[in-house]
Every structure is written in structure tokens, then in C-alpha cells.
Subunit: 320 residues, 2 copies
């Protein structure tokens, strides 16, 4: 795994060096050098490694996925008015809005420059998967923005939003790794489904940690979603299960922009009393098991699956 | 020519119909339906028509160029804070900034969905040309933005900016039409150079019309560039040729945000007295002749070139 990480990091460093100090590409290098776990390119390489001992063909597509992911971060940060990304000023803060728009555009084009380096024999399939995925990620962001002004979001819609915004890029990353190593269609589908379910489990666990995690470990203020009145699994389920009195309480909290420990404490208490923390934990577990089932369906020997299983478990049991 | 126009319009209508009323694609349909001359897809088809009687392979790439062009308009309008586009509210005015960013992103991805439909045998070449062109267009927009805060822009830099911002997309459109019809490398280069020179001639003539055109014919307020203190060919040459007194006058005008007929009249008078209008006209003519020379170098019979020549002449002698 460390070896795959090293391949990814080396390629990203090389990519940034090639960008040099070209003005429009400076923000591209900046956001890439903020770090990150490089989960997406790692998933591409892990998927390739599942089907072949030779994973070289997956390296360019893997890096393309990371460049695309960071492009979405650059533009999402504008839309979210986010001041910080990994503790550093976001691109639109460090430069300005127009730079973040334009360098983001350049970054999306660069993702295509990399994906097109896929070997000719599977280029159509890879680029089609990439296109579909990219468009779905944009649709996920659109849904997320729409939710902010809606009061009738359902849990199914929320799951669909995180599927589009987060999971499909994990799914696309793995599917592309499978395509370039010549995996059968059934196996492409199984590994895609694995990543989708893993992504949902991951994102829902993120929701859990945001409210019930340990600041010491997550490094974030616990209760951030509550203060921001975000419509996460916890809040949507609470609204659904609440009695009229509890619902009135939640709706009052929802209206307020109060930033207090008191608000967090009261809302968490309500989540507890409605057992929504348990419901969320069980949902996380359901999706995780679903992921493992899909992984089981991949028609390679189980020892080839060890690395992916290890990554999945490390994400599943994380406390940060 | 009308036939090619009809092919383009029909395909764009079909594209919009397929988008349906998917939320993120509504602004895509909106900007495409504002109309326009469809110059870029027309150039792709004309280039294909130069080398082959069969231009079907050029249709998808042609539409991709138009989608890409409109994507740049959607994002540029945000950066320019433009309220109107072809007399209608811009996307960020009609919806909002975030919609214009996100739907623009989706539109760029859709351009790739179309370009990837190019026949497999030349897909790498076509997509590489598309990528290079797309990145250069972004660089042109970056230069244009940088110029606004710089006082030392040279004429060469200005020409380079309009080459990147306008010409390379015309060049790329024609080159791609040449590639898909199997044109030789020399011919690809000649038709690319033709479009670059034509684009420079076209854009510089635009500068001329903005200041010396006839409102009745252009439909725009004459002197818009002067009021906006834009660093066009006329202004840059005036600054270069002015005596100290004239330079001081220009710099005062430049500082002011005064919107008066008086300002326009005085600056035009200075342009006249320095003979910059004549210098610009002669530059427009130079690039037009350069374009024709490149067209002459294309190794096909001269009657195949008639349509392109007719289009070039119609752009050259236009008064609007």
C-alpha cells in the first residue's frame, strides 16, 4: 500500500513540476500540494492490482482522478464560501474568485489531458466512464446546493446526493482501474458497486463523527453540522421520527444561527433519545457489509483482495 | 453554406432536447438558445469539406467546439460581471453565480462527451488538439484579466492575448475538421494558420468597429471600449506614439470613469491625429492577407476553397 501511495505522490509531484510557474497553473499546484489521502488514485491502482500484476496502464488515469477531485474542491469552495481547505486559505481566498474559476477550468482540462493518455485499446470506455462520473459529481453538487433552500428533503434524496457527490467518483476510480487491466464486465460492475457502498458507508460515518466524534481525534469542532443547520442523515431522521413537540424544537433550532455548545448539547440529546445515532451506525454497517458482498463477487482469488479489504477496514474503523 | 448552418443548428437543437429539463443542464440549453453565428462548428465543417466529400465524421467534433465556446462565455460572463449576452440576461444574472459555475463545468464535460464520439482512428489526435486549444483559451482569458491591472501592456502581448482568447479556438476548430477527414500534416498546419490569422484580423476589426463603427449597423454604442478604458490595439498604440502632452491627456482619461460622449469624441480625435485608425486598418489587412496566403498553401484544388474564401471575405468586409 505504501508503495502505491509513493507511486501516486511521485506522479503528482512530477505533474506539478511540469506545470512550473505558469500563472494559470499556480493555483493548481497549490491545491494539489495541500496534501490529502489520495484515496481516489489509490483506489484506481488497487482495482488494477486486483486484476493484474502489471498496473502501469492505470497510473495516468489514477492521477487524472485526483486532478479531477481537486478541481471539484476548487470550485465547490467558491460555492460554499469556504475560507479554509486543510487548514490553508482556499484558492479563491488566496487569489480571488476569478482565479479560482479559471484555474479550476484549466484543472478540469488537465484531468482530460491525463485520462486521454490511457492506452488506445480502452480509451473510449475509460473516457466514457470518466465523463459519466464527472457529470454525476456535478449533479451531486447541484443537489447539495438545492437542499440548502429546501425543507422537504427526504432521506432517500440525501443518500442519492452523497452517492452522486462522493461515491460515484470512488466507483469511477475503481472501475477505470478494472477497465485498463482488462477485467470482465461483471467484475467491473462488482468493483464499482463495492466502491459505491463503501463511499456511502464512509460518508455516513463522517456524519456520525461530525456529531458524536472526539475533537481530540477528528481535529474538527464536534457539532459543526448542527451549528451549520446541515440536513444530514441525523437531522433528516430526527425530523421524520420526532413527535410534534420535538419537531417544533428542531425547527426552532434550525431557524437559529446561534453558535453555542448549548445548541449542540440539546440537539445531540434529542438524537440520542430518538436513537438516531444507533440507526446511523447500523446504516453505516449495512453499507459496509454491502460493500464486502460486492467485493466477494469479484472473480479473483481472495488473497488478491487482501489490500482492498485492509483499506476498507481502515476506513471503516477510523475515529477521525 | 446554408446547408452546413442547418446541419449545425439541427444538431444543437437535438443536443438541447436530449438535455431535457435536467436542472443542471437548463442553463446549458439557455445559453445555446441565445443564438449566435455558430462560426466555430461551421469552420470545422468547412475544413472537413475542403478535404473530403464526406463530412459526417466532423459533425460531433463541430458541435463540441460550439459547446466549448459557450462554456467559456458562461464563465467569462461571471468574471466580467456582464449583465447581458445577446440582449438577454447572462446565466449568473438569470440564475446565480453558483449555477453559472456549476452548469459551466457540466458544459465543459459535455463538450468532451461529444469530442469523444470522434471515430476511433483519430481520437487521440483530435482530443489532444482539443485539450491544447482549451487550455490556451483559458490562458488567453487569464492574460486579459491580468491586463486590467497592468499599465505596461505591449502591443505584442495584446496580439498574443487575442490569439489565445479568440484565434486558437478558430484554429483548433478547423484543424480538427482537417484531422477527421485525413488531411496531411502540412495541410492541417496551413488551415490552422489560416484560421489564426483570420481570427486576429477579425478581432482587430472588432476593435476598429467598436470605436469607429456605425451604431446603426453594429447595434452597439460606439466607443464602448474607450468608456471601459480597455487596452485595445488603438489605446496601446496611442500610448506608444503619443507626445508627453498627449500621453498625459490619455492617462487622465484612463483614470476617469466618466461616461460621456465628450470623452469618446476627444479620444477618437487623438486616435485620428496619430493616424492609429489607419494603422489598425492596415494591420487588419495584413492579417487578412496572411490568412489568404495560408489558405493558398492548402494542397487541394482552388474550387474546393471557394466556400471558405467566401466566408473569410464576408467577415472581412463586415460593418457590424
Amino acid at each position: 500500500m505504501d508503495e502505491l501511495q509513493a507511486i501516486v505522490q511521485k506522479k503528482i509531484d512530477g505533474f506539478c513540476r511540469k506545470n512550473g510557474d505558469e500563472r494559470i497553473l499556480q493555483p493548481v499546484n497549490y491545491i494539489l500540494q495541500l496534501g490529502g489521502k489520495r484515496v481516489r488514485p489509490l483506489l484506481t491502482l488497487l482495482a488494477a492490482d486486483l486484476f493484474s500484476d502489471e498496473i502501469d496502464d492505470a497510473v495516468y488515469p489514477a492521477i487524472a482522478m485526483e486532478i479531477f477531485h481537486n478541481f471539484t474542491l476548487m470550485h465547490d469552495d467558491i460555492m460554499d464560501n469556504a475560507p479554509l481547505r486543510r487548514g490553508k486559505p482556499t484558492v479563491h481566498e488566496h487569489w480571488n474568485r476569478d482565479v479560482a474559476i479559471l484555474s479550476g477550468d484549466a484543472m478540469l482540462i488537465q484531468a482530460y489531458q491525463l485520462i486521454i493518455k490511457t492506452k488506445v485499446s480502452c480509451i473510449s470506455e475509460v473516457v466514457e466512464t470518466f465523463n459519466t462520473t464527472a457529470l454525476e459529481v456535478c449533479q451531486g453538487q447541484q443537489m447539495d446546493m438545492d437542499f440548502q433552500s429546501r425543507s422537504d428533503v427526504t432521506l432517500d434524496e440525501y443518500i442519492e446526493m452523497i452517492r452522486l457527490k462522493t461515491s460515484v467518483l470512488l466507483g469511477g476510480s475503481m472501475k477505470i482501474g478494472a477497465i485498463v487491466t482488462g477485467a470482465k464486465l461483471d467484475d467491473q460492475k462488482a468493483i464499482y458497486d463495492f466502491a459505491i457502498a463503501l463511499g456511502l458507508s464512509f460518508q455516513l460515518w463522517d456524519d456520525y463523527l461530525d456529531t458524536f466524534g472526539d475533537t481530540q481525534k477528528t481535529g474538527k469542532q464536534v457539532g459543526g453540522d448542527i451549528l451549520a443547520n446541515k440536513k444530514t442523515f441525523l437531522m433528516l431522521e430526527a425530523l421524520r421520527l420526532a413527535n410534534p413537540e420535538q419537531r417544533a424544537f428542531l425547527e426552532t433550532q434550525f431557524m437559529s444561527t446561534e453558535h453555542s455548545e448549548e445548541k449542540i448539547r440539546k440537539v445531540k440529546e434529542l438524537f440520542h433519545s430518538l436513537k438516531i445515532d444507533e440507526a446511523l451506525k447500523s446504516k453505516v454497517e449495512d453499507y459496509f457489509q454491502l460493500a464486502l458482498q460486492s467485493l466477494n463477487q469479484v472473480s479473483v482469488s481472495s488473497n488478491r483482495k487482501e489490500k482492498i479489504k485492509a483499506l476498507a477496514l481502515s476506513l471503516h474503523h477510523r475515529d477521525h
